[in-house]
């Protein structure tokens, strides 16, 4: 089916979100929809998903004009929206999830389990998925969850599938799995709209692209004709750096040293050290245990055995509060679940970790925290309205900067950043990189956990690679390249390890 959106306008109150945007998706084609946060991608897709009505402009399916009257309408016409937050029920098996909506459509009085299992099996064969339909969804990794969503779209006979940032929480090998699936859909003449911030992926998998900026369409064309640099420029409106940012530094004093840290089931025998003014990477595939390792060091979990030294003195960290007192900061992954208090305003979100530090008799020094935030707002380039606005009123990148401000106001000596640029747009990403380097210049030991090889390569002086809870090796200088990192991260070539 050919979908065309022509000259779409949409505004909320006085905010013109879309201005004369057109989009076209051909059969059997993957079309990238690009743009920074707030560029209007979501609004455009919500219009195609029947959630919003356009103020002006029309939608044509195979040349026939349609007006959607609610989110169910486009689904019936074969347009399927896979949201970034997956709509799966963790405690149900795969097949029941796949039939969640169509169960009713087929007019079953009683849920026919065997029938659903068989049908799911058929879909899996068609799509080349090797899974038992009776597996509970909670036992699947993120890429398979994404694939289940896609299969659900297939069973609803979708001919256009919108995928909103399907790869943000996936590792490289899982991404490959999802891409293989997309290729299969393409062969079956399904059109796909692929929304992503990862330009490398766009180059790899997409046929055409459309870039939005500030609600306007700034560019469209064949992916083959452009480079990632071009796309980034279209998105932000100026040239984006891709150069290495890492600077050679004099090695300072040792700040943090771990000796044979072990936490059963999560990681074992981890030894490493970090020095002042250094940016150290920890990389690996999802499930390598690096987040768990640093959450444990941060006091959120218990250490089974092993020792931890700060400035050469052994420390026992029993709680996150202890960790903060010792000068350790930890910016977690998955901002929404782990870092944002959505019922609080911006200044409170930025101050929460240092309330205790400045409080007198348990009374919060609101004025001190406001002052801190206004200082940090300048250095971090946080774009926001009133301090008393809710944190959720900010874009992803600015939210992340507020979380960063929260940690900077605790004056950490070691700052652990777990996936610091997750869900952050290109411009804000570069800002965050600048901040990281400035922190290192100030003598803070910065530890970056990331699966994104380019991020590690651009920022870090050294990198540790983890695999299944083991430290697989340490890379510096020439050895630190994407290929070696990948080899170590997949469990191979442990011999490269040097220290």
């Amino acid at each position: 089916m050919l979908v065309e959106m022509k000259h779409i306008y949409k505004s909320f109150a006085n905010n013109h979100v879309l201005k004369d945007v057109s989009l076209r998706i051909n059969e059997g084609e993957i079309c990238a929809l690009l743009g920074e946060n707030g560029a209007g991608k979501s609004t455009l897709m919500n219009i195609l998903g029947g959630i919003h009505q356009p103020d002006k402009g029309d939608i044509y399916l195979d040349g026939n004009k349609v007006v959607f009257d609610g989110p169910a309408h486009p689904i019936n016409l074969g347009i399927c929206f896979i949201h970034q937050e997956l709509n799966l029920i963790n405690d149900l098996p795969i097949y029941e999830n796949i039939f969640l909506e169509s169960e009713y459509k087929s007019g079953f009085r009683r849920v026919k389990h065997t029938y659903m299992i068989q049908e799911t099996q058929k879909i899996f064969e068609r799509m080349g998925v090797d899974l038992d339909p009776r597996t509970l969804v909670k036992n699947l990794d993120s890429s398979y969850k994404q694939i289940i969503e896609i299969c659900r779209a297939v069973i609803m006979e979708a001919s256009v599938i919108i995928m909103d940032e399907p790869t943000t929480s996936l590792t490289d090998s899982e991404i490959e799995r999802v891409f293989a699936m997309m290729e299969r859909l393409k062969e079956q003449n399904v059109g796909i709209i692929f929304i992503s911030h990862k330009l490398k992926e766009v180059m790899e998998v997409c046929d055409r692209y459309t870039v939005l900026r500030d609600g306007k369409m700034v560019s469209e064309g064949q992916v083959a004709d452009v480079t990632t640099k071009d796309l980034a420029r279209y998105m932000v409106g100026y040239d984006v750096r891709t150069d290495k940012l890492v600077r050679e530094r004099e090695k300072g004093a040792e700040v943090l040293r771990a000796e044979q840290l072990t936490c059963e089931q999560k990681f074992r025998d981890i030894s490493f050290s970090v020095y002042e003014g250094e940016v150290v990477g920890f990389t690996g595939l999802l499930g390598d245990g690096r987040s768990e390792l640093f959450q444990t060091i941060f006091g959120a979990d218990k250490i089974t055995s092993g020792k931890l030294y700060l400035h050469d003195k052994e420390v026992k960290i029993r709680s996150t509060m202890d960790a903060i007192k010792h000068g350790i900061g930890y910016l977690p992954r998955n901002r929404k679940e782990n870092a944002i208090i959505k019922d609080m305003d911006i200044v409170e979100n930025s101050a929460i970790a240092s309330w205790e530090k400045y409080a007198r008799w348990g009374i919060i020094q609101h004025a001190v925290h406001k002052e801190k935030l206004s200082e940090l707002q300048k250095t971090l380039k946080i774009r926001m309205g009133n301090y008393s606005n809710n944190i959720t009123s900010l874009s992803g990148g600015n939210q992340q900067k507020v979380v960063l401000a929260k940690w900077l106001s605790t004056n950490p000596k070691v700052l652990v950043l777990d996936n610091p640029t997750q869900g952050v747009d290109v411009g804000a990403k570069e800002d965050i990189y600048d901040i990281i380097l400035r922190l290192a210049d100030e003598g803070i030991a910065v530890i970056i956990l990331s699966s994104e090889a380019t991020e590690i390569l651009r920022l870090c002086n050294r990198t540790y690679v983890m695999y299944h809870g083991h430290l697989q090796g340490e890379l510096t200088g020439e050895e630190m390249n994407e290929q070696t990192m990948m080899e170590l991260a997949t469990g191979g070539a442990a011999s490269i390890s040097v220290s």
Binding site: D343, W355, T410
Partner: protein
């Protein structure tokens, strides 16, 4: 001139609409004002002089406030508990247990614990107050430990505690009819000027303290953080277990204070029936006041308004002569209506 008037009108309406849809406290306050007006109208204006009318109006109000002071104090503690995403079903049972302890300690019929130890008079009263409050803390702390360290869901922990506390109290107090010394009654019945307003003063002072705690102390703000996103709170260096422990302990302390007020008002206590359904009234006051049962959102001021709304409603039902057994129906409807009103605001 008229143009200016319409201008003012329009500006007032936009201001009103803005607040109505943005500030939950505002709509609750408006609801309260409506209740007050209703109450005033029902009371009537059939008095010889304005002074008489005013006197009767004031007396009616003081009655309402005094009658609800102890439960209003319980509701304040409940608000903190609910703000962490928990619930405290044990408040009624704790009230009866701490009340029973107070009366056993002070009993003036010859069996009083303190009297048998030779302590009488004001000394006995001061000791009783301290011991009872400490006991309230202990009962609350017991629940707090079960919830925070034992990871028992608050509903289960407090449901169990409710049954244990009430059953033990009833067993040991059966047949007993202790009587407190008359000095003790002064705690609630001391007249200031011509008015018996001590319970109201306790309520307002505690409400003010709780308001300050919720807005300006680390503990108060950490309650919101824990209720809103427990994981993020823990990863921000907040001692979640400590916060949870203290909301239940504080609730126990406030219940003990409420028990002292209740016992000293009438000098006796019905150990089988006292405090029954109190947890539901306290929850209702908090919820009508805009506190979210999911945690993370709550207002001490809202709970004060909520309590007043429920209290005035009770009084109105009384004045209208609605049969006692039918009154809960109205209360229930008001609670649901209040939440419906707030839900609309949240989704928009």
């Amino acid at each position: 001139m008229t143009e200016q008037n319409t201008n003012v009108m329009v500006r007032f309406l936009t201001w009103f609409k803005h607040n109505w849809s943005n500030s939950p406290l505002f709509s609750i306050f408006i609801a309260l004002i409506v209740m007050v007006i209703l109450q005033t109208i029902v009371l009537g204006f059939d008095y010889p002089t304005f002074g008489d009318w005013f006197q009767s109006w004031i007396n009616n109000w003081l009655n309402i406030l005094r009658n609800n002071a102890s439960i209003a104090i319980v509701a304040l503690g409940m608000t903190f508990v609910i703000m962490t995403g928990g619930i405290d079903l044990a408040v009624g049972a704790t009230l009866v247990t701490t009340g029973a302890l107070a009366m056993t300690l002070l009993d003036a019929t010859g069996n009083g614990l303190l009297a048998s130890m030779g302590i009488t008079g004001w000394g006995a009263i001061v000791i009783t107050i301290i011991v009872v409050i400490a006991f309230g803390y202990l009962l609350g702390a017991l629940i707090g430990v079960t919830v925070s360290r034992g990871m028992v869901p608050p509903f289960i922990a407090t449901l169990g505690a409710m049954m244990v506390f009430r059953s033990v109290t009833q067993h040991y107090m059966q047949g007993a009819s202790p009587r407190v010394p008359s000095e003790f009654l002064l705690i609630s019945n001391l007249k200031i000027g011509d008015y018996m307003i001590m319970p109201i003063i306790y309520w307002l002072v505690i409400a003010a303290i709780m308001y300050y705690i919720s807005k300006h102390t680390t503990f108060g703000r950490q309650i919101i953080a824990v209720g809103s996103n427990e994981r993020a709170a823990r990863l921000s260096g907040i001692n979640v277990k400590k916060v949870k422990f203290w909301v239940y302990a504080l609730s126990g302390v406030l219940v003990a204070i409420a028990a002292i007020i209740q016992v000293s008002r009438i000098g006796s206590m019905d150990f089988a029936g006292s405090g029954r359904g109190m947890e539901m009234d306290a929850i209702a006051a908090a919820v009508v006041g805009g506190t979210s049962m999911m945690g993370g959102r709550g207002f001490i001021l809202g709970t004060v308004y909520g309590m007043l709304i429920i209290a005035v409603l009770n009084n109105l039902l009384n004045l209208f002569g609605v049969p006692p057994l039918l009154r809960d129906a109205f209360k229930g409807a008001i609670v649901i209506a209040a939440v419906l009103l707030q839900r609309k605001e949240q989704t928009s």
